[in-house]
């Protein structure tokens, strides 16, 4: 089993063999596969020090010279510490760049709130031109890496710190170009659970108790959201959005705004982290339980709205 970051960087490693326009920048954040890049492609790797702001400005300089730049660091710092650099650099200048953000949500339990990225989705989503990807397993991670290598966009890729078990995609319908996959049997009369990232695995466990009453949309591309999702869900009555983020501006807000764009309102229920900083210890699973994002809490909410 591999970490998502290693899977992503292995794809970059493979492309570096033939594409020397690729540059990888790190703000003192590592990975086994990053060591391989540093060793083999030293000329295409820049250690920027613990200087996220300058890392983005340097990345902007490289992108202005038409390089394919991948900027890599821990989620809380690569998103919020340098958000104005992302705005004034690749966003305003419309430059392709991929931000590899590792450790979203409560990934760094029990480091505490300074190390949690529980508002990065809302913050980066607000920046013009961003494409946001949140893989829930290595299959998606690999495919997202390939997409970012060729799409010439400002990509924000939200990777999990921990291992994520591969979802059995034989029993799921994945549409890579549309940015989502359906887990379980789709039916307009069922409840749709929409989520992304590691928390999807809790949703899967919950829905397994009521497979005839719900299915899951693994929305691995949450900005922009494909119109195909609307076509699929236009007759759905109830949606439960589950996100490992604080209440304001999380995935449920994106889903609500998405349907508003089509002039449709839906019954959308949001399950997220609470409006408080989380200081409790005990590991991520316990924090999920304490904050209503474990499988039992998701199941309870699902049954409530059923």
């Amino acid at each position: 089993m591999k970490f998502q970051r290693d899977v992503f960087l292995e794809v970059i490693f493979d492309h570096l063999k033939k594409d020397k326009k690729i540059f990888v920048l790190s703000a003192d954040f590592g990975a086994i596969s990053l060591d391989a890049i540093r060793e083999k492609f030293d000329d295409n790797f820049i250690h920027c020090g613990i200087s996220e702001q300058n890392m983005f400005d340097v990345a902007t300089g490289l992108a202005l010279e038409e390089k394919k730049v991948f900027v890599y660091a821990m989620s809380p710092f690569i998103s919020l510490r340098a958000i104005e650099q992302i705005k004034c650099g690749p966003s305003i200048m419309n430059l392709p760049m991929t931000i590899i953000s590792v450790g979203i949500g409560l990934g760094y339990a029990d480091a505490g709130p300074t190390h949690y990225a529980t508002e990065d989705f809302a913050c980066i989503r607000a920046l013009v031109g961003t494409n946001i990807y949140t893989p829930s397993d290595n299959f998606l991670t690999r495919n997202i890496a390939e997409i970012t290598l060729r799409n010439n966009k400002l990509n924000y890729v939200r990777l999990d710190r921990h291992f994520t078990k591969d979802i059995d995609y034989k029993s799921s319908k994945t549409i890579l170009s549309d940015g989502f996959r359906i887990i379980g049997e789709f039916s307009s009369s069922k409840i749709a659970i929409i989520s992304h990232g590691k928390i999807i695995h809790n949703c899967i466990k919950s829905i397994q108790k009521h497979p005839s009453r719900g299915f899951i949309i693994d929305l691995f591309k949450s900005k922009p959201i494909s119109e195909e999702l609307y076509k699929l869900l236009k007759d759905i009555k109830k949606i439960l959005v589950v996100d490992e983020q604080v209440p304001d501006g999380n995935l449920s807000a994106a889903i609500f705004e998405y349907f508003c764009k089509f002039g449709k309102t839906k019954f959308i229920t949001s399950l997220s982290l609470p409006e408080r900083h989380i200081f409790e210890n005990g590991g991520r699973d316990l924090l999920f339980k304490l904050n209503g994002l474990d499988e039992d809490s998701i199941l309870k909410k699902f049954e409530e709205i059923n």
Binding site: S51, Q53, D57, T60, G61, L62, L64, Q85, I92, M93
Partner: protein, 266 residues
């Protein structure tokens, strides 16, 4: 055009043209623009920034990190034929994409700037690349003294120092003023040179309004980045603006003041 006399006249003309533009538009950052006129003229007309006549573009890069002063480049770009005369004439209307803060949609502007503390890092990225690729291209970054309050500027200095970016020229416009007054009263920066010295750069202080001194400083040869601490006067050339922090921005101006300004640069 490189004789001292001609370049001095050119500085005067650029001051005059930019003053009339700011007056017409009722906006601009005259204090910051007029403090770097001689620096800009030296860079472009003393062949520090090389020009490819065939391609009609500059080979070397210039980033005005103090983005509110980007408009200082417009008359130069016009005179080199990089932007059209009509763009200059129509500045302030929908027919021209020139604006107070430059951006990369304007030919000849190498980076969009405006928020302070970004330009040096962007310049580092470019200079790093040119050095790695053994390209004979220089990167000139003009930062304001006030940008030394931004942490990102110091992050970039560390980067330039570590990578020995010998093709990077950092010009600090030391006019001793920020919006609310003197830097010495607000948050002391003195001595800038001493603070930067330990990075291992080649540092030269000069009178930023003396073309010969600026030229000598820009001709420094070394294996490290060059830092030119240019002592300047905010609003240089206009008696009502010189050393007046309120002229960071354009102000309402009386007919008498307009005449004084025109006389100052006649």
């Amino acid at each position: 055009m490189d004789s001292f006399h001609n370049l001095k006249s050119l500085c005067k003309r650029y001051r005059s043209e930019l003053f009339e533009k700011f007056l017409l538009l009722g906006q601009g950052h005259p204090g910051s623009v007029f403090s770097i006129i001689e620096i800009i003229v030296t860079l472009f007309y003393k062949n520090h920034i090389k020009f490819d006549k065939e391609k009609q573009k500059f080979i070397d890069k210039i980033i005005i990190s103090k983005g509110h002063a980007t408009s200082v480049l417009y008359p130069v770009l016009r005179d080199f034929g990089v932007i059209k005369e009509s763009d200059w004439q129509n500045w302030g209307t929908s027919k021209s994409n020139l604006r107070i803060f430059g951006n990369i949609s304007i030919t000849g502007i190498d980076a969009t700037t405006g928020s302070l503390g970004h330009g040096l890092g962007i310049g580092c990225g470019m200079a790093y690349l040119y050095k790695k690729q053994n390209l004979n291209k220089k990167v000139f970054v003009i930062i304001s003294e006030g940008e030394l309050y931004e942490g990102s500027t110091w992050e970039a200095l560390l980067f330039a120092s570590h990578h020995k970016l010998r093709n990077l020229y950092i010009i600090i416009d030391e006019n001793s003023l920020i919006i609310l007054g003197k830097t010495s009263d607000c948050l002391k920066l003195d001595s800038i040179s001493k603070k930067i010295e330990d990075f291992g750069f080649t540092i030269k202080e000069c009178d930023g309004h003396n073309i010969d001194q600026v030229d000598i400083a820009l001709n420094l040869k070394s294996d490290t980045s060059k830092v030119i601490v240019a002592k300047t006067i905010k609003g240089k050339g206009f008696s009502i603006m010189e050393n007046r922090p309120e002229w960071h921005y354009w102000n309402s101006i009386t007919k008498e003041q307009i005449e004084i300004c025109r006389k100052d640069i006649s």
